[in-house]
């Protein structure tokens, strides 16, 4: 910890998806306002748990003032948090509300993944009028995938006339989403809606459908700028706006409050909204953003 300027570290699981890029941009902007130095570190691959733990350990041994991490896996990050605790470095978890394996976290900041998935499921029921065939694109096995897909199915399972005819893993990737959707649409020409557990997979599905001249609904989670453009152009039907930029801002705001000695809640939930073409502008202008509210731990089901 430098005497004057504080150094804070942001550890997203990867810097190759627009979502985390947005978070980091938001965080940098606020940090600059407060005069904090920002270190951003991310492993090359989003499945490399060990490297993320290592990176965090390195930052602990560098004695940064605070660490904000979006763990690839909430259990696996435990070791590193324990070390941070030993060095008295506060740890903030962002984009996740599930408590970690061990160690003490100062604050969890994130949106409710399961609830977001519920919103999409309700949207599905609405546009399909309670019956139809749908397909799900999973990401790489992880907490996020479990919550997003599990939450979605929770609602859908109440509607016996909505059939999940296909569920495949597309590794969070647009290219995989594209090819899997193409194949699936061949096998099941009656698919009416594709739910991608991330925007990129969902955009892949949308491109596949448009290339096959099929009109289906495509919905995803993230609300990245690129997705918003695709909603604008009519390619993608809907997404969950998760305000990544604002989430990044919030993280640094909360750190600042902590440094100032203000009390902060253990769990802070940021808002999510369903974004379709009609409320696109409202979302983009930030009007739909509402103040994060104190919340509770998200329990894995």
């Amino acid at each position: 910890a430098g005497s004057g300027q504080k150094t804070i570290a942001i550890l997203p699981p990867g810097m190759t998806s627009p979502f985390y890029v947005q978070i980091v941009q938001g965080a940098r902007k606020i940090a600059q306002e407060y005069g904090y130095k920002v270190i951003v570190e991310a492993p090359p691959a989003e499945s490399d748990f060990n490297t993320q733990v290592s990176m965090m350990e390195n930052l602990v041994s560098e004695h940064v003032s605070a660490i904000a991490v979006c763990p690839m896996d909430d259990k696996a990050i435990g070791t590193a948090i324990v070390q941070a605790n030993k060095a008295h470095i506060p740890v903030f978890i962002f984009n996740g509300l599930a408590s970690t394996g061990s160690g003490n976290v100062t604050e969890y900041i994130g949106y409710n993944q399961r609830e977001a998935a519920h919103k999409l499921a309700q949207f599905t029921v609405q546009v399909l009028h309670g019956h139809g065939n749908i397909m799900i694109l999973d990401g790489i096995p992880s907490y996020y995938n479990t919550e997003r897909v599990g939450g979605y199915k929770e609602i859908i399972n109440h509607y016996p006339n909505i059939h999940i005819v296909e569920e495949q893993q597309a590794d969070w990737l647009r290219s995989e989403g594209l090819s899997i959707t193409m194949q699936a649409l061949q096998a099941h020409p009656n698919i009416q809606l594709v739910y991608g557990a991330s925007d990129e997979m969902d955009i892949g599905a949308a491109i596949a459908a448009s290339q096959m001249h099929k009109h289906i609904y495509t919905i995803g989670i993230d609300g990245n700028p690129v997705t918003l453009q695709d909603i604008q152009s009519g390619l993608v039907t809907a997404t969950i706006g998760t305000f990544p930029y604002e989430m990044g801002e919030t993280v640094v705001e909360q750190m600042h409050k902590y440094f100032m000695g203000q009390s902060i809640p253990k769990f802070l939930e940021t808002p999510t909204v369903l974004v379709t073409k009609s409320d696109l502008q409202a979302y983009e202008s930030g009007k739909l953003w509402s103040t994060p509210k104190a919340s509770h731990e998200e329990v894995q089901m």
């Binding site: 296909e166 569920e167 899997i180 193409m182 194949q183 061949q186 990129e200 892949g204 690129v226």
Partner: protein
């Protein structure tokens, strides 16, 4: 062979497999990797290996996309499609040149050189995009992936073109002959007065350019340039080439085999989707298929070798006493 059996089995198992549209889809999906595999076949023919192909897909895709994107916010420069495509191919050539130079002139091991460039090139793609997706590509470019000619997708035509040219190169030109000779015995080839270094450099440049082409086509297919594109394709191309019957120790190459190898893998993926196999099991099945495909090939060859041996001897002896064992 294996492909035919596989296709047959899948057709029986799932009627959807048999449709013309589905077959075309399989080929379209395979086309990107297939184009890369053509280049990789040359490299493996020399006894080398090119791990950088996947990241070249990323980098050249990103550079082409940046050059032609009309979205200023992500750094788009709004150049013409032709310029962008040429620049993308150029990037592939430059990376290939670097690989080839380090291998041929500095005598470094292909595996390690291309592992290094793989990281570097991927990193450059990240640096250029800063993690953003480069979209807003010209429609004329996006159409590359959807246009058809005589009812067949442009992507398929391009793939066919690449394979015809590659096949001519490997089996009808000196470049091809030397490629395989180098794989067979580099020293002997050098002693015979062949400019081995040039051939090696040429092979890696070719692989780089074909990977760049694949990257550009993937852009068209995904309607955007993404820095992570092509991640992991190096193993897919190598697997395709090896399943196709080209030996990793160099000296032989089957262009047609590589195409078939890639198609087999694409078929299996497609088949697994159509049969609605549990996501978690699909990797298991995929791995099994790779092993089995190569195994049947080995067993088939063993029998063929025995036959060849007999023929050679019979030819020499003019005696008909050889019977099947």
């Amino acid at each position: 062979m294996a492909l035919v059996i596989l296709a047959g089995a899948l057709s029986l198992a799932s009627p959807a497999f048999r449709t013309w549209g589905n077959i075309q889809d399989i080929v379209i999906q395979a086309s990107i990797v297939a184009i890369m595999a053509a280049g990789q076949t040359f490299v493996i023919g020399t006894g080398g290996i090119d791990l950088s192909v996947g990241s070249i897909v990323g980098l050249s895709g990103v550079i082409s996309a940046l050059l032609m994107s009309t979205d200023k916010a992500v750094g788009g420069m709004g150049h013409g499609v032709v310029v962008a495509v040429l620049a993308g191919l150029g990037v592939g050539a430059v990376v290939g040149l670097f690989n080839g130079f380090a291998i041929a002139k500095l005598g470094m091991a292909p595996f390690i050189v291309t592992l290094g460039t793989m990281e570097m090139v991927r990193g450059l793609a990240y640096v250029l995009t800063q993690g953003e997706t480069i979209d807003a590509l010209p429609t004329s470019f996006d159409n590359l992936a959807t246009n058809t000619f005589l009812g067949v997708s442009d992507l398929i035509w391009i793939t066919i073109g690449v394979y015809v040219v590659s096949w001519v190169l490997i089996s009808r030109t000196l470049f091809g002959k030397y490629t395989l000779s180098i794989g067979g015995n580099e020293f002997a080839t050098r002693l015979s007065g062949v400019r081995v270094d040039r051939v090696i450099i040429g092979v890696y440049v070719l692989s780089g350019v074909l990977s760049a082409l694949a990257g550009i086509l993937l852009d068209a297919r995904l309607q955007s340039g993404i820095s992570t594109n092509g991640d992991g394709y190096e193993l897919d191309t190598i697997a395709g080439v090896v399943i196709g019957g080209t030996s990793l120790s160099g000296g032989s190459a089957s262009m047609f085999g590589s195409l078939v190898g890639v198609l087999i893998m694409s078929c299996v993926r497609d088949g697994l989707t159509l049969l609605n196999v549990n996501t978690y099991w699909s990797d298991v099945v995929m791995g099994l298929i790779i092993v089995l495909a190569v195994l049947t090939d080995i067993l088939r060859k063993r029998i063929a070798v025995q036959r060849w041996f007999r023929r050679a001897i019979v030819g020499r002896r003019d005696q008909g006493e050889v019977q099947g064992t």
